[in-house]
Symmetry: C2
Subunit: 480 residues, 2 copies
């Protein structure tokens, strides 16, 4: 269990804040009743921890956010942003209480520039709402986290979200051109631009993925992409994870970059089939879901090469979706995997790490061994093309000791991934959950450089405290 | 003329430094004689300014660089890195004297990981040397600045260099996975990783493009790409720049991203044909050089679509290179354009800016008007696909007043580009040349945020001082 601060603000401070916040945003946009605040006590990292904010506020403009931040700074209380609360590493959990700034009311699309293929929108705009708004122009927004029906662009930016289609298109940072940020000082800055370049220091790149610790994004300008002419979705069935992993490397080695290349193991296939019936073969040990995208001629040429790469690694069967319905069904299976496990197991702990593609077979074998040792089912459904694994450690919190075993298994998995030359997060962020793991990847000088960056933006440490960076050993015990 | 500091270090300091540097790197790796130092008094921004370093030193290891930096910091003297000196914005000019750290001896390729498609090399490694080393494995390094035969990876990283093929492949920051940096404190940090992810704050992104002001890169890990199966190079001839510009937008609107999409105007065509005879039609007002890359079937499908887009905008002729020799000749013309003007005009001032693609016709008309008003020939040869223009202002420094008129024309061009929603640098960097222009793009709060980043890394201001950021009005007149 991640230790939580028990700091709570004095009631006089809370009362003063409440009055001032109501003046800034209006009474109906401030949440102060405990049972209403309870909806904000966690994000999608429900495994580890819940913590309530002292107050929550739902601003409607950048100016309001800036006024809220200045107020919190003046009062010396923690503040942090929240989008839809779908984050998986605890970035939006108010672990030290304070004021939670919920951006969901700022959901306007401010500008769509079709000719230059950009859009500017408020941070609370939902990912899929943007794509829906630009589809009539033949465009889409590429990063597609599994949460895209509800997660916000601001949250995607904070966590540098990826998705199944990031293999070809890249993650959020590759699609953000600029942003409006309320700094922890309350100053409003515009970083980056509205076209492809960022002269001067690349502050946009620093803010993307900084998990709300360097400031609060209120507006974002993103790149849009043209809808592909054609799409082909392929399901390839393998006898084991090793052969499926090697097929992944073979496909990439042929110079083909599928837009998605997902691996699904047998346990996941069984859970999915019991839940949505996507047509996955339940007796297969490993399945690859491969999607090609581009000009028709291009994918007609690539599909046989993908099939050949799979056959080279003794795949049992290759099935191509013949209709849009078949394609949607194959994806429905993949996208409902986490939900399927929700029915299948009492609790699960969703991991996120990246390993070099070539190390996938060895790492998956080690994960299986960890599962065997701990007696916990660990299933694997993940973005194989870029080595971004997502082991799901299943446990039952009602059985004494299982929760602790699940955390220990997660810990072991992280260490295996780092040992293999990998990293501790592919797309879910560091947040609360993984901060101590950064010590395994970076030495003290590297962390000190990051800490210096954090401190310039937030010298007094009120902006989403306790996230991303491990606790500074030199400052342990100091007043927060 | 950009005003230069006349600071020179006291001779006693210089003597002490000279002895200490000789101890660190050996006597033969320290340059101190004035006539030998003169080769380091400018980079490729020769227009504006020359300034000699007090000493130059050629280290062979990260440890030596760190020791040199600690020494300079201890003595309170400026220091700055230099690669091949091909930068176009003055980033490597020792404008305040001090110690120039020349990294050309650190040119080793440390590791090539074929399966995971990465390479780790020392910062002095030449761009094309890397591609040559990995070609036998069917790989290449994508960013291809015109200087790639001599420019170093460290210099490319410092300036976030682009090239003709950046339209499809992106610029340096999209290909750097991690780096070893000697901070201005002398501490050595490793930022980023050796695979695709950068957990924690994206410091790699901050260092890329920071022009040696935040630290000195000594090693870099880059992503490699598979060589394309096929390439097709097309020359399309237009009656005027407007129609050629509109064809550029039409090609992109069809969902085709050529790997390169270059515009060459009539003056450049004439200069090039007088110089290398690339076979460009000298009577055409505008020429597009378009390159497609990918699977054979893919480019066979794209080429007719590109031709149709050109014909839609009344192009006079479309010519496809039939052999590798023809293709090389078309590129030779493009790549020798700056050299061709060197024969054609006494001096030229090479501009770099980005405008939204859709604004190209209007901006090019304004640039022509500036040329007419100032009586200076301004030619245009540039990366049209991403709106990255490179006007070449021709002048004769021997004629009184022409140099000043050229600078004034350059200034007007920058303002036109910003007005059109553009930025003041696409790939050449800010350096000495453009720092004051940042005020036109960013307001004081934005610049203050960048200044805070710079000051954490370099609080005492010795690391490549006077570059990138405009002078801080609040601190003007303070001791440097």
């Amino acid at each position: 269990m991640i230790p939580m601060s028990s700091h709570r603000m004095p009631s006089t401070t809370r009362d003063r804040l409440l009055r001032a916040l109501r003046e800034i945003v209006g009474a109906e946009a401030v949440v102060s009743a405990p049972d209403e605040l309870r909806v904000y006590d966690c994000d999608a990292l429900t495994t580890c921890h819940r913590s309530m904010p002292d107050l929550a506020v739902l601003p409607s403009s950048t100016e309001q956010v800036a006024a809220i931040v200045r107020l919190c700074r003046h009062e010396g209380v923690p503040f942090l942003p929240r989008g839809a609360g779908t984050g998986l590493s605890g970035g939006a959990i108010p672990s030290q209480g304070g004021v939670l700034i919920v951006l969901t009311r700022m959901d306007r699309i401010l500008d769509i520039d079709v000719a230059n293929r950009t859009a500017t929108l408020e941070a609370g705009c939902v990912n899929l709402a943007l794509t829906r708004a630009v589809t009539p122009y033949g465009l889409f927004y590429a990063p597609d986290p599994a949460s895209q029906q509800v997660s916000t662009l601001g949250g995607n930016l904070a966590e540098n979200a990826g998705g199944p289609h990031s293999l070809k298109h890249g993650v959020t940072t590759n699609h953000v051109l600029g942003a409006t940020i309320v700094l922890p000082s309350g100053d409003v800055v515009r970083v980056g631009g509205r076209i492809a370049d960022r002269p001067g220091y690349d502050l946009t790149g620093v803010f993307v993925g900084s998990e709300g610790t360097l400031g609060i994004c209120t507006e974002v300008t993103v790149r849009l992409m043209p809808l592909p002419q054609a799409v082909k979705t392929i399901l390839a069935v393998f006898r084991n994870l090793d052969e499926a992993s090697n097929a992944v490397s073979s496909i990439i080695a042929r110079g083909i970059i599928p837009v998605a290349l997902e691996m699904i193991d047998q346990e996941t296939v069984k859970a999915v089939e019991a839940y949505v019936k996507a047509g996955y073969p339940v007796d297969a040990e490993a399945v690859l879901l491969i999607e090609l995208e581009g000009l028709s001629v291009e994918i007609e040429a690539e599909a046989p090469a993908v099939e050949a790469a799979c056959r080279e690694h003794r795949c049992l069967n290759v099935q191509v979706a013949r209709t849009e319905e078949e394609r949607a069904l194959l994806w429905k299976g993949r996208k409902s995997a986490a939900g399927a496990f929700g029915r299948f197991t009492q609790n699960y702990y969703h991991q996120d790490a990246v390993v070099p593609r070539t190390k996938l077979p060895a790492v998956l074998r080690e994960i299986a061994a960890i599962g065997a040792r701990t007696g916990l089912l660990i299933s694997n459904v993940f973005h194989a093309g870029d080595g971004n694994i997502h082991p799901l450690v299943c446990y039952d919190a009602r059985v004494p000791g299982q929760f602790e075993r699940a955390l220990a298994a997660g810990d072991e998995i992280m260490r295996v991934c780092i040992q293999a030359g990998g990293t501790v997060s592919g797309e879910h962020g560091i947040g609360l959950e993984k901060r101590e793991y950064l010590r395994l990847m970076y030495d003290e000088a590297d962390l000190a450089a990051m800490r210096r960056v954090q401190r310039i933006f937030d010298p007094t440490g009120e902006c989403n405290p306790g996230k991303v960076l491990p606790e500074d050993e030199d400052r342990k015990g100091e007043a927060p």
